[in-house]
Symmetry: C2
Subunit: 234 residues, 2 copies
């Protein structure tokens, strides 16, 4: 059964899905959806994902969107995926769901609201909203503090004190990596207070080497593109 | 193993968990967390849920928060729960994850942002933010339109065209029910454009009768309390 993955490396959830497939030897056809050309808004793409967002997958005749749902589906469907990514143990699995659900309304919301309203909006021809950016940054900082003090509270190298990574590590680490697109000074000031986060991101990167770096190699390019766009509009 | 459920009937996700337990004959001890007394902010409750939110559960020595994760855990752990709530079939399950993930950043976010910033904030001594209320209402309306046109697009009485309810029906229907706390005229103007939503909420209610009405009986009381609070502050 052919698996097609609709993604763009600028999108955090797309990168998590891409890295997961590559690290687990899952064969797939990659279709890049060009966001600046509004390819996610075409009627053709709406047939794949009516929410007009990436990522989405088509596995034979089965269509699915929402990155967490995709990661769970891939981990549950492809036989070569090691158990630690999405454990069969009900309690371990429940804890991973808890992290992923928390992610939606905390780290993800904070990160997207901050980054969109402090720069990314311009790439879509939309105005930046400084108040929304401030609120997003506040939530982002609170979320990073929670990762540092709670989700990484135990001694294991991964979230929940696990000795091996789960799909939650991949989803959240790709979100933190999105800060690569902001000015280095701003990024450093955001991340500098958190002791465990840099090491955890590095652990996740190493666990899926070389794919983490490979999939993230687009971010410095995106950062330059964004910088040019912002200065051209100011 | 004793199950303790920490809830407040004013919270949509709390109600979904309460109804799920009652409808599935799951025995539990209910602990009400009084939000107006800030019991969710006490150090004692932070031991149960460090995020200081409801609902949360303790099952013997296992603590869990985030309502979707709780619903999945309960459906996977208690033997009397029928398969349709959280199907073992990987694809059916994936679609339910997809609805639940979508819920976080769409219906849930829109509903909470709208309701909090147009009234509920006052109960917590916080100012209302009319711009945030408008943005929340916009997202709420878009989300309701998506439920009406996409998630309920097939002919089945429940989300995804299913013939029996899943945990997603319960989670989303409890969210829509929260509109009971707003002025009747406002609620009618919000819900009047959607053809399938009232019938779907009613189907969900009937599938878990009498527990849906029983658990929602607090909402008219909450509405009056809110009304009085708002008029006392104006």
């Amino acid at each position: 059964m052919e698996l097609t993955v609709y993604v763009n490396p600028f999108s955090q959830p797309s990168r998590a899905v891409l890295i997961f497939c590559k690290a687990n030897g899952i064969e797939f056809k990659e279709v890049t959806i060009e966001l600046d050309k509004m390819q996610h808004r075409t009627p053709e793409y709406a047939e794949i994902n009516p929410m007009k967002q990436i990522p989405a997958i088509v596995h034979a005749d089965f269509k699915l969107f929402e990155s967490h749902a995709i990661l769970i589906y891939l981990a549950s469907t492809f036989p070569g995926v090691a158990d630690h990514w999405y454990p069969t143990d009900v309690r371990k699995r429940a804890k991973i769901h808890s992290v992923l659900d928390w992610h939606h309304s905390n780290l993800r919301r904070g990160s997207v609201d901050y980054l969109f309203n402090s720069g990314v909006a311009i790439a879509f021809g939309l105005p930046m909203d400084p108040k929304a950016a401030d609120q997003g940054k506040k939530l982002l900082l609170e979320s990073l503090a929670m990762i540092d003090s709670y989700w990484l509270q135990e001694d294991g190298p991964f979230l929940l004190g696990n000795s091996q990574p789960s799909i939650a590590d991949l989803a959240l680490a790709c979100e933190v990596m999105q800060l690569e697109v902001v000015d280095e000074k701003d990024r450093d000031s955001i991340l500098s207070s958190y002791k465990k986060i840099p090491k955890w991101v590095d652990n996740t990167k190493k666990a899926v080497a070389p794919y983490f770096d490979e999939v993230h190699s687009f971010l410095p390019v995106a950062k330059e593109m964004l910088k040019e766009l912002i200065s051209s509009k100011q």
